[in-house]
């Protein structure tokens, strides 16, 4: 598998944080390239199963991305709300895509510098003041778009340098890519007596909703969650971020299993895989928070990949970090034979 090509394919999909089965329809064809053993849960998540051993592990990543929702249609414009943590600061003059009956492009209104009054300079606009300009007549627009339709950042996938890529929704298509990389690699060397459920879950950005139910009741002996974390950059506190290219970030938290975190650490050391420790005092802000307390408690580990500009129009990652996370997870899961 060409991992960059797969990442580009995953990032090209509009998978907003929304209910309904449109997301599943968009994502399913990509996963079907790698396995046919797939179930879709009631909560709109997808689980790809590998093997039938009794010792089951859950490997989780969320497919949804931060998104907006249409609240009003007025002449050629729509107004939006941002209930899922998308970055409102990046909106002025940004391009969005409304997922109506068809995909409708729009550009967010911004006040030109010529007309800024001093009271507004230096202040982030409220999302309720943002108009998305579609250029279409109100009649056409209303035939294509309804209140409640999801709105995403317009897509992009750019290679910046040998290892670095700029894209939307790397949070958490990187996790989805890791799921697929592992699925492919473990299928040719499946440890005896084990089985793996790779979950691609919905609605993480709305409060870990998909991970609460995906694969519920299957009696997993442990879980591994893939997500992204903050990469270092100017204005980002160095103690709250990991440098790009520093490898896989292993989560350490009271809510995660210490023994699994230690196992990840020793596996990385043993195999010379670059890693950092991401220490959190409680909640991790990932699916791990939901999975670790399910079904009376599932021992859970967390591997994150640092990205810059999280939740904005253009996130940035280093491919070395993704490869380190994939290698570490592979050794960690296969190392139990």
């Amino acid at each position: 598998m060409d991992s960059i090509k797969t990442l580009a394919e995953l990032c090209s999909l509009y998978l907003p944080c929304s209910g309904g089965d449109d997301n599943v329809k968009r994502l399913l064809p990509v996963i079907k390239k790698y396995t046919s053993n797939i179930t879709v849960t009631k909560g709109g998540s997808i689980i790809a199963t590998l093997g039938d051993g009794n010792d089951r592990a859950l490997i989780d990543a969320h497919f949804d991305e931060v998104s907006f929702v249409v609240t009003e249609i007025k002449s050629s414009f729509v107004k939006i709300a941002s209930p899922f943590g998308a970055d409102v600061r990046v909106l002025p003059a940004s391009q969005l895509v409304i997922l109506g009956k068809k995909e409708v492009k729009g550009v967010c209104f911004c006040m030109p510098p010529h007309l800024l009054d001093s009271a507004r300079i230096g202040k982030t606009p409220l999302v309720t003041d943002i108009f998305v300009d579609t250029g279409l007549s109100e009649r056409t627009l209303k035939s294509l778009v309804s209140v409640g339709d999801p709105v995403c950042y317009a897509r992009r996938f750019e290679k910046l340098s040998k290892k670095r890529y700029l894209a939307n929704a790397l949070d958490d298509r990187i996790g989805c890519l890791l799921n697929i990389m592992l699925l492919e690699r473990l299928s040719s060397s499946l440890p005896e007596g084990k089985s793996f459920d790779f979950s691609f879950v919905s609605e993480e950005e709305a409060g870990l909703r998909g991970a609460k139910t995906a694969g519920f009741g299957k009696g997993y002996s442990k879980a591994l969650v893939f997500d992204v974390t903050f990469a270092s950059a100017p204005k980002v506190a160095s103690h709250k971020s990991k440098p790009l290219g520093s490898g896989a970030a292993i989560g350490v938290s009271p809510l995660l299993s210490d023994s699994l975190s230690n196992e990840l650490k020793s596996t990385a050391k043993k195999n010379g895989i670059p890693f950092t420790l991401e220490v959190m005092g409680g909640r991790t802000g990932t699916d791990a928070d939901a999975i670790s307390v399910r079904e009376g408690g599932i021992p859970t580990a967390l591997i994150s990949v640092p990205i810059r500009n999280m939740h904005s129009t253009a996130e940035l990652c280093d491919i070395d970090d993704i490869n380190a996370a994939a290698e570490l997870a592979y050794r960690f899961l296969g190392g139990e034979i």
Partner: protein
């Protein structure tokens, strides 16, 4: 529209407008005398019937953008703005320099305090992330002093055009059209540089031209939204050619203003004026340079001026084009 797309997606900040000028030269060569002055303005003279007064049309070739001013140790670029850009439109925008792309980085919202979330950082506190690994690599691949642009965009939806640099490639496009359609009388067309940095191009061009009547073709600001269709919108998309009587830089010639509105009415061309005194353009330089000139300005209204994607109405473009041509046939006789 194809030519407008080529003009808008080409890059040229103030002083680095060669790409734009070469597109223009290719389009108009053989149709007029072309010269370039010492400052970098491109001057095209079309010969027709003689008229009493010297009539010059002006549109500027430059756009707002950035220049890399420094790299930090990690290879993040600091930059200066070229032209007036509100820092609020910068976070998260993808920029390009040559074939390289970069992004104006943002601290993730998760890590911001409530007051930081509401605050727009100043340009000088922002940085461009080209994905470089350190300062050395950055300086080798994209030296300090390189020009940086908003990512080229151009598409149409309904009657609207969404594009980078409509200000003022739309004026440039109209002048090319005028040259191609062979004006009746002698006319000089000046493609000015450095408007966004303070109309320096127009100032140096006007010096040697001895202009009697100067007509500026521009893209002007609109703040129109469904909630603001009145005074504070300044101009309306779809409202027709904007004929100026006053802005922050210029008191336009009242006779030319009256004549322009008369020509518009007579030819059934939709027109509007600005409902606020705002903005400014090359007219301020043309009016006051050397022996001075009478000036008029016809503009296409656009939202999101000086940002990554500005928005104009196709019909307004045609209104300005028609008005500019019709006006040229009746002035300076």
């Amino acid at each position: 529209m194809k030519l407008l797309k080529r003009l808008c997606t080409a890059n040229g900040i103030s002083g680095r407008e060669e790409n734009i000028k070469s597109i223009i030269k290719k389009e108009i060569s053989g149709l007029c005398d072309i010269s370039e002055d010492r400052f970098g303005n491109l001057i095209a003279t079309v010969h027709g019937k003689k008229r009493d007064k010297r009539v010059c049309y002006f549109a500027h070739t430059d756009e707002v953008g950035f220049i890399i001013s420094d790299y930090d140790e990690q290879g993040f670029a600091r930059f200066v703005n070229v032209g007036g850009i509100d820092a609020a439109v910068l976070p998260g925008k993808v920029l390009c320099s040559g074939r390289r792309k970069g992004v104006i980085g943002v601290c993730p919202v998760h890590l911001l305090s409530a007051s930081d979330k509401e605050t727009v950082l100043k340009s000088e506190d922002l940085f461009i992330d080209f994905g470089f690994e350190d300062k050395k690599q950055a300086e080798k691949r994209l030296p300090v002093g390189s020009a940086v642009y908003f990512e080229p965009t151009f598409y149409q939806a309904g009657n609207e055009i969404f594009a980078k640099a409509l200000d003022d490639r739309i004026g440039v496009r109209i002048m090319i059209d005028m040259i191609k359609s062979k004006p009746l009388y002698d006319t000089t067309f000046v493609f000015t540089c450095c408007e966004e940095t303070g109309t320096q191009g127009a100032e140096t061009a006007a010096y040697g031209l001895n202009t009697d009547i100067g007509v500026i073709l521009e893209c002007t600001t609109s703040a129109q939204t469904p909630d603001e269709n009145g005074g504070k919108a300044v101009t309306l998309l779809g409202g027709g050619a904007v004929i100026s009587y006053r802005d922050n830089g210029t008191m336009y010639d009242t006779e030319l203003f009256a004549l322009a509105t008369f020509v518009a009415e007579k030819n059934g061309i939709k027109w509007q004026t600005k409902t606020l005194v705002a903005g400014g353009n090359d007219a301020s330089a043309v009016q006051k340079t050397a022996y001075g000139a009478s000036v008029a300005a016809f503009s296409v209204a656009a939202r999101n001026l000086h940002s990554a994607i500005s928005v104009a109405n196709k019909n307004d473009y045609f209104s300005v084009l028609k008005l500019a041509k019709a006006f040229n046939d009746v002035i300076g006789l």
